[in-house]
Amino acid sequence: MTGIRWAALLLAGACPAQVSYERILNADGEPHNWLTYSRTYNGQRFSPLAQIHRDNVTKLRPAWIYQSWNAESRPRFETTPIALDGVLYITEQPSDAAALDARTGRPFWKYTREIPSEVRACCGRVNRGMAILGDTLYLGSLDGYLVALDRATGRVRWQTLVADYKEGYSITVAPLALKDKVIVGVAGGEFGIRGFLDAYDPKTGNRAWRFWTVPGPGEEGSASWSGDAWKQGGAATWTTGAYDPDLNLVYWGTGNPGPDYDGEVRPGDNLFSCALVALDAGTGRRRWHFQFTPHDVHDWDANHTPVLVDAEWQGRPRKLALVANRNGFYYVLDRVTGEFLLGRPYARQNWAEGLDPKGRPIVRPEATPSRDGPVVYPGFHGATNWFSSSYSPAAKLLYVAVREEGTRFFRESVEFRRGALYTGGGPAGVPNVEPRGWIYALDPLTGEKRWEFSLPSPPWAGVMATAGGLVFGGSNEGTFYALDAASGKPLWHFQTGGWINANPVSWAAGGKQYVAIPSGRALIAFALE
C-alpha cells in the first residue's frame, strides 16, 4: 500500500460525514470507503486497497458475521454495502436496511418495511443495496417507492412512489446518486410492465425526469413495435448502471421485452429492450442506444453494470464501455457515440451465426422458442447475469463470472392481465447435461480469454478485483475464494455454508482492510489474522 493510501486511511476519522458528489467522484482519494454500488461511477468494482495481497491472502480469516434475521425462507442476500468512515449501510430482504459497525458487524440501527404479500417479484424478494448522498441513504423498495433514510438514524425523510406494484412493477436495484439526481430503475419484466428509468431530486424526492425504455406511439423507436404491444413491452431497469461525469451521461442496461418467449405478438426490434442506453443525466434524454439482442425471445435482459474504461483503441485514446452480455457475446462500444467496436462470443452459444459489422446478431431461426422446445445456449439465465464484472486497471483485465446452462425454450400464447405473469412460454433444463461455470479473465480490447477458473455449477455471484493482485468471487456451494488476478490460480478459499448470490466489496477501518460477501442470510467480513 502506498504512503498516500495510508494517509487517506488515517484521515478517515477527519472526513466530513456528508458524502458530497465530489467525494464519490474522487472515490479513489478515499479507498477505505465504498460510496456507490460499483465503488466508482465507472462500474469497475475495483478496490485500490492492497493490505490483503497475493502473498498474505492465505492469512485471511472471518472477522465477523452479521446474520439477517428477517431474510426470506430461501435467502437471496444480494446487497452491496455502502462503506463510509467505519460504518456499513446494507439492505436486507425484502426491503430493509441496517447500519453496521464496519469493524464488528454490530448494528447501529435497522429500518424495516412491511411489504404487501401480493407484490410480485419474479426472482425473489431481493434488494441489491442503497445509494448515499449528503446525509441521506436512498433505498428502492419492493413495493415501488424510493425511500430516503437519514444516515445517522435510519428514519424515513421522505418517500416517493416510483411505480405501482399492482401494475407488476417492483424495485430491487441499488439507486445511483449523482450530483443533483438519484437514479432508480424498476423490475417487472415478467409481469407486463412498460419499463422506464427515473431521476429524483435528492432533497425533495420530486421526479426530475423519466426515460421510457419502451417508446410510445410517435416517439423515436416506436416503429420497432406494432399495435399495442408497447404498453406491456417490458425492458426493465433492475441493475445499477454507470456514469461518465465528463460526458454527463448515465449508462443503463435494459431488460427483456414482454412477453419473454412469445415474440409473435410483438414483431420488430422492440426498442429499447435488451440494450445499453446512454442518457443525459440532466434531462434524461437519450444520447444513443445499442441493442445487443433485437427482438429477444430468450429472456436475455441486458441488465448488466457496464464497465467504463479509457484505453488506446487502434492507435488512439477512446472512451469505451465494456459489456459481457447475457446473450453470450462480449461487446466493446464507444461510449461517446455508442458505436460498435467489437463483439465476439465469450461463452457457449448456438443462437447466432455471429454479429454483422454493426454488431447486430445473425440469428439462427431454429433457436426460436416453440412447442418443441429447442435447446439453446446460453440458457435463459444467460452466459452471465446481473452480478458484476470487474476491471483491474493494474492487470488491465476484465473478470467475468460465466454460466453454461443450456435451456429448452418453449413458446405458448399468453393473455395479458394487469400485474400477472406475462411470459408467453417458459424454460426447461436439458436432461443429463450438468450445468457448469467459470470465472474468465478477458482481454478487454479483444475479448480473448486469458485464463479461466472452473466452478462446479453456474455462478450467481459477481467478482471484485483489488490492487492486491486478487480477484474475489463466490460459488453456489458457498465457497468464497481469492484468485491471482494475473493467472487465475486459486490462492485462498473459505466455505461459508450458504448460497452466494452477491458481489464482493472491500473497505478499511481501524487500519485494517476487510473483504465481505453475503452468503445465505449472513454478511461475512474477512480480514488478515
Binding site: F410, P427, A428, P431, N432, V433, E477, Q495
Partner: protein, 253 residues
C-alpha cells in the same frame, strides 16, 4: 423391449384417436407407458394416484412437475389440459398387464443367484449401495424394471430436466473415479462438490471427502452405473421372475 417401437406406433395411433390421448402420447407416454402401466415414471393404471387425489392436484403436477423428481413441468393449457386430465383419470380403469414371471421365484433369485439384496434393501433388509426397492412396483413399470436389470446404465435417473435457479448437490447421479496423490483409487457416487472439495460415497460403502489438491486424477464417469447388467447372468425367464417380484412390491410409499 425390442418390439417396443412397433408396439408404440400401433398403440399410439389408437390412443391418438381418443380425446386427450394425443396430449398423453405427446407428453406422458415415454415415462408412464402406453396404457399408463408405468415405466421410468410410476403407473397411472391404478384407482388412486397417491400425489393426485383431486383434479386440482393432478393439474398442478402436470403443469408444474414434481420438484426433486424426474417429473418435468408440461406446457399444456386450456382445453388440451382438461382433455389430458380426463384421459389420465380414465387410465385408472385399465387393467395393467400382469408381469410375465412368477414373483416368488423372482424373490428367491433376488436373494440368491442374482445377489441383488447385497446392494438393494426391501422392507429393511438388504444392502444400501443401490436404491431401496420397497415401493418400486408402485413407482416404476415392468418395462423400465426389466431394462434396468439388463442394461442399468440406460436407465439412470433423468436429471437436470427441470430448469432450476441453483444447482444443489447431490443432484444428478454421477459416478466418479479418482486417484489420490498417495495412490489410493476410489470409485463411487458423487454426493457433493464445491470448487475445492468433493464428497463421495465409495463402492466400499464408506463416505470419502477430498480436498481437490489431494487428487491426482478425477474422472467423471458420465452415464455409468455401479450396477452390472444381468443379461447373460440370468436367463430371460429368471429376469421375468425378478421383474414380477419387483412389480409386486407395491406398498404405497
Amino acid at each position: 423391449m425390442r418390439c417396443a417401437p412397433l408396439l408404440l406406433l400401433l398403440s399410439a395411433a389408437a390412443i391418438h384417436a381418443q380425446s386427450g390421448g394425443k396430449a398423453y402420447s405427446t407428453y406422458c407416454v415415454d415415462c408412464h407407458g402406453i396404457q399408463g402401466e408405468g415405466g421410468r415414471g410410476p403407473s397411472l393404471a391404478r384407482p388412486r394416484l397417491p400425489r393426485a387425489a383431486t383434479d386440482a392436484e393432478l393439474e398442478q403436477i402436470i403443469r408444474m412437475g414434481i420438484p426433486n423428481t424426474s417429473m418435468p413441468p408440461t406446457r399444456v393449457y386450456g382445453q388440451e389440459l382438461r382433455e389430458l386430465l380426463r384421459y389420465v383419470r380414465s387410465l385408472a380403469k385399465t387393467q395393467p398387464v400382469a408381469a410375465a414371471g412368477e414373483p416368488r421365484r423372482g424373490e428367491a433369485i433376488f436373494r440368491g443367484k442374482g445377489n441383488c439384496a447385497s446392494c438393494h434393501m426391501v422392507r429393511g433388509e438388504g444392502g444400501r449401495m443401490g436404491p431401496d426397492l420397497t415401493h418400486i412396483g408402485a413407482v416404476r413399470g415392468p418395462a423400465h424394471l426389466r431394462q434396468s436389470i439388463v442394461e442399468p446404465a440406460a436407465e439412470l435417473p433423468n436429471h437436470f430436466a427441470q430448469y432450476r435457479l441453483v444447482i444443489p448437490f447431490p443432484d444428478n447421479f454421477l459416478m466418479l473415479e479418482l486417484r489420490t496423490r498417495d495412490g489410493n483409487l476410489v470409485r463411487g457416487s458423487r454426493l457433493n462438490e464445491d470448487p475445492f472439495t468433493v464428497q463421495v460415497r465409495g463402492l466400499d460403502d464408506r463416505l470419502h471427502s477430498f480436498d481437490k489438491s489431494e487428487i491426482a486424477e478425477l474422472r467423471r464417469l458420465d452415464g455409468e452405473s455401479p450396477m452390472t447388467g444381468y443379461r447373460g447372468v440370468l436367463s430371460e425367464e429368471q429376469i421375468d421372475d425378478v421383474v414380477a417380484y419387483l412389480s409386486s412390491l407395491r406398498d404405497a410409499p
